[in-house]
Symmetry: C2
Subunit: 151 residues, 2 copies
């Protein structure tokens, strides 16, 4: 696993992730704890909702995306430390049986003015299903340490 | 429980929520599934991290906030259907033993131009701990049906 410092990032770089399967039981148990609405917990009620079938809570999709991001190829030194969310959208529902993966692209790299030991990268992470349809788009900033100088 | 249609909302209205306690075991089990980084799963490693102690994953805080929102007083007719996130930030860590609640404020109410049966409300929801310190700020748009006319 390659650990990356601020100096290792540049705009346009792309990173992938492993894949994660979504099953109906976890969609429902996550929703029962965190988002207990009919269209996330009951197939029959979901069929008559605007989702037209059981769909994962957007917050479940966000959490699964975080897992794929942690297990993915970007690997910033110091871990994944968020410094703000610029965009978060769920253009399509996540369904039971879907298999998700990520495509992340570095949009911006900026050294900190006040902290010479770190900087910020802005990353757009798209969560895709098995048909390569986007189910979540997330643009966030991460704090990344600079490479320690060898003195 | 009062169900609210688009006509029942106006800018400046405020809504509350019940309270939810956060325990160390759930912080760790959520993180083991969705955000397995040292500062979310191990007290000792967390002490030496920038969080200076065990802290909930931001996605766990977002999920708990959704639960409080569903159980809260806003109650839009048709359920809570997101139409986009404008802001999401975690200004302070959530700690074991914290007790969270919400303060939501309606910022904007807008009937749809293309869909005469619905509209959009923009809501800022602040998640507060027991000391009334903000641990999450979330600004999102919800789709809300208009009151059915009695014809």
């Amino acid at each position: 696993m390659t650990i990356r410092y601020l100096e290792d990032f540049e705009p346009g770089q792309k990173f992938g992730s492993p894949r994660l399967s979504v099953d109906a039981a976890r969609i429902k148990s996550f929703a029962l704890e965190f988002d207990p609405q009919p269209f996330h917990i009951d197939e029959t009620l979901a069929r008559d909702s605007l989702f037209k079938g059981l769909a994962a809570s957007g917050w479940h999709t966000a959490a699964m995306t975080m897992r794929l991001f942690v297990d993915g190829d970007l690997n910033p030194a110091g871990g994944i430390v968020g410094a703000g969310v610029e965009e978060l959208a769920w253009p399509r529902p996540v369904r039971p049986g879907d298999e998700l993966h990520l495509e992340s692209e570095v949009l911006e790299v900026r050294p900190s003015k006040s902290r010479p030991d770190q900087g910020m990268i802005k990353v757009r992470t798209t969560t895709l299903n098995q048909n390569n349809e986007a189910v979540q788009v997330f643009v966030g900033k991460l704090i990344v340490p600079r490479r320690p100088s060898s003195r």
